[in-house]
């Protein structure tokens, strides 16, 4: 299993569009992928779950990925966070 801490560095936080991006990306992998914030764990493949985290700019999410393609899955989601969900230059 892979575990990672991801910080939200885009200004607007996890609003609808980044949540959709995460859910879409996670959906491409077979692994079970979870995101945890303040003790609440949601399925990263669920757009509504991710939105409900209501994670703001500066907050830290804990990512877990478990399965055959856990490496790639974790990396793909990490990249989304690092690229600020392609929102800022």
């Amino acid at each position: 299993m892979i575990e990672l801490d991801l910080k939200i560095i885009n200004q607007l936080g996890l609003h609808a569009r980044p949540a959709a991006l995460i859910a879409q990306t996670a959906g491409n992998y077979k692994s079970t992928i979870g995101l945890t914030k303040d003790g609440v764990r949601v399925d990263a493949k669920s757009i509504m779950g991710v939105m409900m985290l209501a994670a703001e700019h500066g907050s830290v999410l804990h990512l877990t990925a478990e399965g055959a393609d856990e490496q790639e899955a974790a990396q793909a989601i990490k990249t989304l966070f690092e690229n600020k969900f392609n929102e800022e230059f």
Binding site: N10, Q11, L12, H15, A16, R17, A20, A23, Q24, G27, V42, D43, K45, S46, I47, M48, G49, M51, M52, A54, F85, N86, E87, E88, F89
Partner: protein
């Protein structure tokens, strides 16, 4: 006979029997199932999910073809929600472990999710809550009395009554013998209204109680001209409306014959008549219209539904295509009026803290706080002007003082200088104008008029700010009144101030297409009007039937009046006189 007043969403008159769209309030037919029914119920749910997904796919394509990518994105969010494991698994869990019927499982899951969404204060999420319900209800409907089947079961031409009609429903209406529709909720600029206009279906929205007051089979008149719904009309009213329907048909035929004629009053006073243009809904028939040019290109759509601010190239391509589409006739491009109800997805400065967005950081205020956004748009416009012999105008939205105009002028001159250093110059000079929609700009226009090349009046917002009335707020919407003396006097002040300096004034709000208000606008000596393509020939015909001297007398009388009632009577009397 019962008459309900709503909002005219799409013009025309439709008469026919009522059909009521079922399934808005899904009534539980059955809550619990027995253990041996679980597999069948699960299969039912899976089948409904597949059907819903197929429908959403189809809608996405249709919306994409009719309205373009921006609206199609809306449908893809719906697909994501439908396939969301949290949604899907919660429903399955309820069927399998709580032995709920698929229908009950869907409804309870919707309620649970909606409750957790409700805790989040963000408007983004509130909007998603509506999406969730759109998807959920569609899914529940596919279990039982299916909506689409319902529409295909409509045997004879009918008028559709619904509490709410989603864009995804509207797009299917024409193939199903629906002549017109009315809804309890919605506004003139909702996606549903825009779709109805582009499909040429008369529609009235915002009727509050229509879906309760109408019974299936009632005879209805949907008056999309005046925003009225008549339920079970008496014989007199019915024959009256039949006549109006015939007149509209006749007028439409007549209108086609005046396309090539000049826009001039009976006594020879010329008016410039422009169209408000939206590249996303430009239809073939629009291309036949002979216009004086494009009076208002709203550019917000380029900025919406995209994760990053649109690049200079992207904008340039839109402006270039528009200039070509209008064969190099005048094209007025309004700088992005973002903020208020138009919030882009990409991050902006000074944006999140708006408590009162219509009085907050929108239009030029927002652009000045995000100078790169302003400069990119100006660069794209200037580049277009360097490339082709277009006659471009730049319109600054939400101007409230002269300093804002000077800031834009300064940025504009700097960019012009950058282009000049690269050896590029606009083929034709670009005009810089202000959208006058804030009362302070109207009252102190004399202080900024010498910094401007032209004036446009955005009457929708100007009236809203003059009255301090939010048109979307149903409690006060009736106070929004174009006949208020303050409106005529403010328009007069703007036009007089501009004319003293030899500057032209164009009106590009809804008031410009209002037949009854036209004589007043002409009489106030307006130079130009900009209207939607659909209204273009009607307005042209009305101008050609007007007498400028008579309009001037009417306007002078109106300026002396002290109440909306007096002005309304004057206008109505004049209208009756014209028609007789």
């Amino acid at each position: 006979m019962l008459v309900l007043k709503g909002i005219a969403a799409s013009p025309g008159v439709a008469i026919g029997p009522a059909v009521l769209l079922p399934g808005e309030h899904v009534a539980l037919s059955r809550q619990y199932i027995s253990a041996n029914e679980i597999p069948a119920e699960t299969a039912k749910f899976d089948q409904a999910t597949r059907q819903t997904l197929a429908e959403l796919d189809e809608c996405e394509h249709k919306v994409h073809d009719t309205l373009g990518a921006e609206y199609a994105n809306l449908m893809s969010t719906h697909k994501l929600i439908l396939q969301d494991p949290a949604f899907h698994n919660a429903i399955l869990h309820k069927i399998e472990h709580e032995q709920l019927s698929a229908q009950a499982a869907i409804l309870f899951t919707l309620q649970e999710l909606a409750a957790s969404f409700h805790k989040i204060e963000d408007p983004f999420f509130k909007e998603r809550r509506n999406d969730l319900f759109d998807v959920g209800k569609r899914l529940a409907n596919n279990l039982s009395g299916d909506k689409n089947n319902f529409l295909s079961s409509v045997q004879k031409p009918s008028l559709l009554v619904a509490h709410n009609l989603y864009p995804s429903d509207t797009i299917n209406l024409q193939e199903h013998k629906i002549l017109g529709f009315c809804t309890d909720v919605g506004g003139k600029t909702s996606h549903t209204a825009l779709l109805a206009q582009s499909l040429n279906i008369p529609a009235v929205v915002g009727l509050s109680t229509a879906s309760k007051d109408v019974h299936a089979g009632d005879t209805l008149i949907i008056d999309g001209e005046n925003g009225l719904l008549v339920i079970n009309p008496d014989r007199y009213t019915l024959s009256n409306y039949r006549q109006i329907q015939r007149d509209i048909k006749k007028t439409e035929a007549l209108l086609k014959t005046i396309n090539h004629l000049p826009v001039i009053t009976q006594d020879g006073h010329p008016i410039k008549l422009f169209v408000n243009y939206d590249p996303r809904t430009d239809k073939k028939e629009n291309k036949h219209l002979i216009t004086d040019g494009l009076g208002l290109l709203r550019t917000e759509f380029i900025f919406m539904g995209t994760p990053v601010a649109p690049s200079e190239d992207e904008q340039y391509n839109v402006y270039l295509a528009t200039a070509k589409r209008f064969d190099m006739r005048p094209v007025t491009i309004r700088l992005a009026d973002l903020g208020a109800d138009k919030k882009p997805d990409f991050p902006l400065d000074e944006f999140d803290q708006d408590e009162n967005p219509f009085m907050g950081c929108r239009g030029i205020r927002l652009l000045l706080k995000n100078p790169e956004l302003l400069r990119t748009q100006l660069r794209a416009i200037i580049r277009t002007a360097c490339e082709v012999p277009a006659q471009l105008g730049i319109l600054i939205p939400m101007v409230s003082s002269v300093e804002e105009v000077r800031h834009v002028r300064k940025a504009y001159n700097e960019i012009l200088e950058e282009f000049a250093q690269a050896g590029k110059r606009p083929v034709n000079k670009i005009a810089l104008g202000a959208m006058i929609e804030v009362p302070s700009a109207a009252i102190a226009l004399d202080g900024m008029i010498s910094d401007l090349d032209f004036i446009s009046i955005g009457t929708n917002d100007l009236i809203q700010y003059l009255m301090a009335v939010d048109r979307v707020n149903q409690e006060v919407a009736h106070l929004y009144d174009p006949c208020h003396p303050a409106v005529a006097r403010t328009l007069n002040l703007i036009i007089q101030t501009a004319h003293k300096r030899g500057k032209v004034v164009c009106i590009c709000g809804e008031i410009a297409s209002d037949t009854k208000m036209l004589p007043l606008l002409l009489g106030l000596n307006i130079d130009a009007l900009s209207v939607t393509p659909r209204m273009f020939l009607r307005v042209k015909n009305n101008i050609r039937n007007s007498d400028f001297e008579h309009c001037t007398d009417l306007a002078q009388a109106a300026l002396l009046m002290g109440s909306s009632e007096e002005i309304r009577n004057l206008i109505e009397q004049n209208n009756r006189h014209e028609n007789s």
